[in-house]
């Protein structure tokens, strides 16, 4: 069963964009951790997580994202989220992720707000 995700990392000025292609589950942890470690080592201060609109995100994946948010908080980094379906926007609000990461409707809107 396919458990890998691909994370394309792009620099947009001061913002480091993680273009996350695939489902976000407990199996995503090493991929997200590696992308974050590299970005952090390179001095990233602002991160944008872009999800696929059709991505399956479950509680294990949300837990991985919460751990990532904890690291960004420790390192005083700003983080934004985009690409979510309306359902997962609702889920992220329910869980409280939006207290730490603002959700944006588009990449352009997110980059403008983070820059």
């Amino acid at each position: 069963m396919k458990q890998e995700i691909e994370i394309k990392v792009e620099s947009h000025g001061v913002v480091t964009l993680f273009d996350i292609q695939g489902d976000v589950t407990v199996f995503s942890e090493p991929f997200l951790n590696e992308a974050y470690k590299n970005a952090n080592d390179e001095g990233a201060t602002k991160l944008l997580l872009k999800f696929e609109k059709s991505a399956y995100i479950n509680s294990g994946g949300i837990a991985v994202l919460i751990q990532l948010l904890a690291k960004t908080k420790q390192n005083s980094q700003q983080i934004g989220i985009t690409g979510l379906s309306e359902h997962f926007k609702k889920i992220f609000h329910m869980v409280g992720i939006t207290k730490f990461a603002e959700i944006h409707n588009t990449v352009e809107e997110a980059l403008k707000n983070l820059s």
């Binding site: 069963m1 458990q3 589950t25 407990v26 199996f27 399956y56 479950n58 509680s59 294990g60 949300i62 837990a63 991985v64 919460i66 751990q67 948010l69 904890a70 908080k73 379906s85 309306e86 359902h87 889920i91 329910m94 869980v95 409280g96 992720i97 207290k99 730490f100």
Partner: protein, 151 residues
């Protein structure tokens, strides 16, 4: 994959049963089956999404905690539709929930004062109209969820 033909069974016009291998990832079969069934009977799209997440989370709990990741165990999901309400039961071979996770608190999770896991039951409670945990049957533990066509 010979057993695949027995994974989804249509028991009657209103009841579908899905038998899953006890492996993370296979919850998606139950999730997509429940979504297809809900669409056929006319659920609006946002309720279908709520249903998908609730079914997936109940199956994940059954695989990880109920069946304790035992490879020989199964998770049985039965969906029955009646009077604009879809009833979904998720059965595992375990002995019920030993300890319910505490209510998730994102601030505590971020500060590492609470485990980042333990969100499944919270999400189920938020997304369905009624849920009963810890129902024991002769075959094991069952979670039963009711979800209305329109929330």
């Amino acid at each position: 994959m010979g057993e695949e033909s027995e994974v989804v069974r249509i028991l009657d016009g209103q009841t579908i049963e899905v038998s899953l291998p006890n492996k993370l990832g296979y919850e998606r079969i139950a999730m997509e089956s429940s979504a297809s069934f809900a669409r056929i009977i006319g659920f609006v799209s946002d309720r279908v999404e709520d249903l998908k997440t609730a079914v997936a989370e109940a199956c994940i709990n059954a695989i990880e905690h109920g069946n304790k990741a035992r490879p020989d165990a199964r998770v049985i999901v039965t969906m029955n539709y009646q009077d604009s309400i879809l009833s979904v039961s998720v059965k595992d071979e375990g002995e019920g929930i030993e300890e319910f996770p505490e209510e998730p608190d994102i601030l505590q999770k971020i500060e590492n004062l609470q485990t980042p896991r333990g969100l499944g039951i919270f999400l189920i409670k938020q997304l369905v109209d009624q849920v009963e945990f810890d129902k024991m049957t002769s075959e094991g533990h069952m979670v039963r969820m009711l979800i209305k066509m329109r929330g």
